[in-house]
Subunit: 363 residues, 2 copies
C-alpha cells in the first residue's frame, strides 16, 4: 500500500516544533509563538509557511543569525502609532508584540499603526491580521521579503513577494481574511511545476530578459516572478505599485532593509532586518452595524451564481476555512510523507524525538 500522506495531530505538530526550537536554546515563549504561527499556516493549507520551514528557523537560531535572547522594544510611540525595534528576534515574536501593541492603541483611540524593523520571516501574514478578529477589530499585516519579483519593464528582481493581509470580522464568528502576495503567484508554485516537469501559465514569471515565460526553469534561474496583473498591458504595473506600497509601509517607515538590499532568498549569511507593519482598526469608532454589513457583503458574493457550478464563488479566507474544517474532521493535519520524513531526519540529527503520526491511513 502506498501512502503518500499522513495525519498528525495539531498539538503534536505544535510540541514537535517547540522541542526542536528548544533544543537549540530558543526561549520557551519564543518557541511557542513560532510553533503557533507555523501550525496555523499548515492548518490553513499554506504548507509553504508551516512545518516545512521549521528547519530554517532552527538553523537561524543555532547559527546565531537570529537572536534567541531578548524581547522587542518600543522605540517611539504616540497613542496611535508605534515604531518597534525587533532586536533580530524570530518573526512571530516581533509580530505578536507589534500586533498586541496595535490592538491596545485601537482599543484606546480607534486605530493602532505599528511598524517594526529588525524582524525576521514571520510565517503567514494573515496570522497577525487575524488576531484582531478576536477583539472584533479589523487587522492588517504587511512585510517586505527577499527579492523575487521583477518590476514591469525590468529584468532584475528588486522586490519581494511583499504580502498584504487584511482581516475583518463579520457576524457570528464569520470573517473576511485577505492574505495575498503582490506577485502573481507564490515562488513555491513555480518550483512545483519545475519539479513536475510542467510548463507554467503565461503571466506567472519572466526570464532573465524580462520577457514572460512559460518555462519554470527560466523563471527560477535568472528570471523572476512578475507582479499581479502580469505584463504591462494586463495591468502588471499595478501589482508592481502594490509591491512598492508594501515597502512604503514596511522598509520606508521602519528604516530596515528594503528592496534589493534584503538578503537573497534562502541565503541566511546575515541578519534579515526585515521591515513589517501591523495595523488594528476598531469598527466601533465608525458607523454602527459593521459586522452585519460584513456578513451581507460576504453573502452577496458567496451566493453569486458561478460560471462553473462545481466552482462556487468564494470570499477571501473561505478556501482556508474549508481546509481547517477538513483538518478538524480528520482529527489532524495531513502532511506529505516526504515532509514528515525530512523533518524527522532533521529532528534525529539534533537529538529530538520525532513526530508521532495519527494511527489512521488517509488518501
Amino acid at each position: 500500500m502506498s501512502m503518500s500522506r499522513c495525519l498528525i495531530a495539531r498539538a503534536e505538530v505544535q510540541t514537535f516544533i517547540e522541542r526542536c526550537m528548544l533544543s537549540v536554546g530558543t526561549k520557551p515563549s519564543h518557541a511557542r509563538s513560532l510553533a503557533e504561527v507555523l501550525v496555523e499556516g499548515d492548518r490553513r493549507g499554506h504548507y509553504s509557511h508551516g512545518l516545512n520551514r521549521m528547519d530554517v528557523y532552527v538553523k537561524d537560531i543555532r547559527t546565531g543569525i537570529c537572536a534567541k535572547e531578548g524581547e522587542p522594544v518600543v522605540e517611539r510611540e504616540t497613542v496611535a502609532t508605534g515604531l518597534v525595534e525587533g532586536n533580530n528576534l524570530l518573526g512571530p515574536v516581533v509580530g505578536n508584540f507589534c500586533m498586541n501593541l496595535a490592538l491596545r492603541k485601537a482599543r484606546d483611540v480607534g486605530i493602532g499603526w505599528v511598524v517594526a524593523r529588525g524582524s525576521n520571516h514571520y510565517g503567514i501574514a494573515a496570522y497577525y491580521a487575524m488576531q484582531a478578529l478576536k477583539e472584533n477589530m479589523i487587522g492588517m499585516s504587511y512585510t517586505n521579503t527577499s527579492p523575487l519579483v521583477v518590476p514591469t519593464r525590468a529584468k532584475e528582481c528588486t522586490l519581494g513577494t511583499n504580502p498584504i493581509s487584511v482581516a475583518a470580522p463579520a457576524a457570528n464568528g464569520d470573517s473576511f481574511v485577505l492574505d495575498m502576495a503582490t506577485s502573481a503567484v507564490a515562488f513555491g508554485k513555480v518550483e512545483l511545476h519545475d519539479r513536475n516537469g510542467n510548463t507554467i501559465p503565461e503571466g506567472w514569471g519572466c526570464d532573465s530578459q524580462g520577457k514572460l515565460s512559460t518555462d519554470p526553469s527560466k523563471v527560477l534561474r535568472g528570471g523572476g516572478l512578475v507582479p499581479i496583473g502580469g505584463c504591462e498591458i494586463t495591468g502588471g504595473y499595478k501589482g508592481f505599485g502594490l509591491g512598492l506600497m508594501v515597502e512604503v509601509f514596511c522598509g520606508m517607515l521602519a528604516g530596515s532593509q528594503y528592496s534589493r538590499y534584503i538578503r537573497t532568498w534562502r541565503v541566511t549569511d546575515r541578519a534579515a532586518n526585515l521591515g513589517q507593519c501591523f495595523v488594528a482598526i476598531n469598527p466601533e469608532n465608525f458607523s454602527p452595524g459593521f459586522n452585519d454589513r460584513m456578513s451581507d457583503l460576504l453573502s452577496i458574493h458567496r451566493d453569486l451564481e458561478p460560471t462553473d457550478p462545481e466552482m462556487p464563488v468564494v470570499a477571501p479566507g473561505d478556501p482556508e476555512r474549508i481546509h481547517m474544517e477538513k483538518c478538524h474532521s480528520l482529527g489532524g493535519i495531513p502532511y506529505h510523507l516526504s515532509v514528515v520524513n525530512h523533518m524527522n531526519d532533521f529532528a534525529k540529527s539534533i537529538g529530538v524525538t520525532t513526530l508521532l503520526p495519527v494511527d489512521k491511513v488517509i488518501r
Copy 2:
C-alpha cells in the same frame, strides 16, 4: 487644416468649470473645489476624470441629486479617527474636508483615518492622497464606486473599480503616487476600443457568462471588467480581494451604500451615498530618514535596465509627472476638440461663456 486637439490654459479650464457650476447655484467654494480636482485629473493625463465629466456634476446639482448647500459634519471622532457625514455634497467637498481632518490628526498623533458616508464621485483618488505630500506625510484615499467588476468565478458585476491611492514624499519634492483601480483596466479603455472597432487584450473583461472575452461590446453589454490579475489561474482572485478590501475601508466602516446596492454607472436617479476613506500618516513618528529612503527606492527602480530601451522603468506617479511637464511646456492642457466642442455646447445650453482656447495649434 484638421486640428484634432486644442490647448486650453489651466486657469481657463478652472474658471470655466467654476462658472458652469455656479450657474446652477453651486456654492462658490464647492465649485472651486470641484474644478480644482477635475483640472488636476486632466493635467495628470486622466482625462476620464476631468473636464470630460463636468456636465454630469452640473446636472447632479441642477436636478438636486447632489446637494448644493451645507458642509460635511464630523459624526464621531477620536484623536486618530473620524466618521464624517458628507451630506450628499459634491465628492471633492467631502474629500477635502476628510483629508484635512486626517492630516490634522496625523500632525497630532502620527495618523488620521477618516471615513465618509453620504459622498459622491470625487474625481481622481490621487488628488486627496497627494494633499499629504504638502505636509511631508503619506496620504491614502479609497472610494467605492458603481458596480462594473465581475468577481472571480462569477458572471455578475458586484464591485466597482474601487481605486486605491497611496502617495509618499521623497526628497526634493519628488514623490511616489500610486493611483490604481482594482479592476484590470478602466471602463473607459474598453469603451475606446469598442468605439474604434478594436478587440481588447485577454484579461480586461468578461462576457455575460463570466468568460474572458476580447470583444469589447460583450464586456460593455451584459459582461463586465475583471479584477486585476485577470482569470483565476493568473491571480484574478487577488484583484477581487483588493476590491473587497476597499469596500471594508469604505462602505463597511462608513455605513454608506456598498457593492451591488450602489446605483448603476451613469444612472443618477438617486443620491449616490458613496463610502470613502482618507488616511494621513506622519513619517516623523517612525524611523528618521524617510524621504531619503523613498528617493533611493524610486532611484533603484527608475535606474533599472529596461527590457526595451525605449520603455524606461517608471515609478508610480511618473507617467502623470511626464504629462504635467508636457502641459507646463505647452502652456496649457491639450484637449480633444470633440470634448471642447461638447462642453461648449453644454455651456451655451445653460447660458455660460464658452472655453477660450490658447491661440496655438498643437499636434
